[in-house]
């Protein structure tokens, strides 16, 4: 296999992993709210706004073999990272909840799931954004 071909394959696989992550995060969050009926809090909504489009953007990029996806995806990933980090800081009590926009309705610090003693929904969200962030940086380096 020639060098450019190999690199192009690597780019494709990275993009594919980005899409898989975004897709699993999207369907997972929909499962929590629509099937298990956990009401999403305000912070969850901001993260959803960033994650859901990624599932579509990556899919289109995959199918049309678009190398420019970094430009469109990264702003959403950065925003998502910001909200997810903020949400986790709130949850672990590092930031006081009083300053958060979550006083009404569902609290952003309620515990719906707690897998293996530490895996909460907000941590899952943060992990997904971090994975996509790292993969995208890698993609950018390989694609350019």
């Amino acid at each position: 296999m020639s060098q450019p071909q190999k690199s192009s394959n690597l780019v494709w696989i990275t993009l594919f992993l980005c899409w898989l992550t975004a897709m699993i995060a999207t369907l997972g969050s929909l499962f929590f709210s629509e099937v298990m009926l956990f009401p999403p809090c305000v912070m969850c909504w901001y993260q959803r706004i960033c994650m859901y489009p990624l599932a579509v953007i990556f899919l289109v990029a995959l199918l049309s073999n678009d190398k420019n996806v970094f430009k469109y995806a990264m702003p959403l990933v950065l925003l998502g990272l910001f909200f997810a980090s903020y949400h986790n800081l709130l949850y672990y009590g590092i930031l006081p909840e009083a300053v958060a926009p979550c006083s009404q309705g569902v609290s952003c610090t309620s515990d719906y799931i707690n897998w293996f003693g530490f895996m909460t929904i907000q941590l899952l969200s943060l992990v997904s954004f971090v994975i996509v962030f790292i993969l995208l940086l890698f993609l950018k380096r390989k694609a350019s």
């Binding site: 494709w12 594919f16 899409w19 629509e34 099937v35 009926l37």
Partner: protein
């Protein structure tokens, strides 16, 4: 495998997992078991119907909740059709603003032997006092004398620590049981997984 085929196959698999997972989750047994059963029924809860009935409906409700209001005659009718067979245990999930005080009013009315009277009159005028955005529970004082409730006594009784403890216990139990919306029904410990009049009727009939 061709790249595009892999993408489409993955998309298909993920969607299938989601749909299949939803199906299994909805059909799985969500009965309340073990230590949580004590949270379902407390001796302090008001019971309508035969206390020795075999089938028990536990309803968590909020007096300001419109859906609770519309379910009340429906459930009462089911009780009427099956005398002796079903009992209804009323529990509180005061999620709306100020609902805590409305619940305290109902509990204080119980001390005057007017539990259902108070509940029904509060539901009757719900659109007046519980209007969205501007709930005004002060209006309720004007409606309660209609069913012969002594308002002065009610105001005093509402402050009783046992009423406060009872409501706090119910709120704690909503957390234990994962009640997040009202009304929430449990029939013999089985929660209503898909919400609706027909679904509730079906669940009750399956437990009769």
């Amino acid at each position: 495998m061709k790249k595009q085929t892999l993408v489409i196959a993955s998309l298909f698999t993920l969607v299938l997992l989601f749909v299949g997972g939803s199906y299994f989750y909805k059909n799985a047994d969500h009965s309340i078991v073990g230590e949580k059963t004590s949270a379902l029924m407390r001796p302090h809860a008001y019971v309508i119907g035969n206390p020795n009935a075999k089938t028990t409906i536990v309803e968590f409700f909020d007096p300001a909740c419109e859906t609770c209001k519309s379910f009340y005659p429906f459930v009462k009718n089911i009780l009427k059709q099956n005398p002796d067979k079903i009992k209804l245990v009323l529990r509180y999930a005061p999620f709306h603003t100020d609902s805590y005080y409305v619940v305290a009013m109902i509990e204080a009315a119980r001390l005057q032997g007017k539990y259902l009277e108070a509940l029904e009159v509060i539901y009757k005028y719900q659109d007046k006092w519980a209007s969205h955005g501007t709930p005004n529970i002060a209006l309720i004082w004007g409606f309660l004398p209609e069913v012969g409730i002594d308002i002065e006594k009610l105001r005093d009784d509402m402050k009783k620590p046992e009423i406060d403890a009872l409501i706090k216990q119910d709120i704690a139990d909503t957390k234990t049981l994962g009640v997040k919306a009202t009304p929430e029904f449990f029939v013999n410990g089985k929660p209503l997984v898909k919400f609706g009049f027909k679904e509730l009727q079906a669940l009750i009939e399956s437990e009769l």
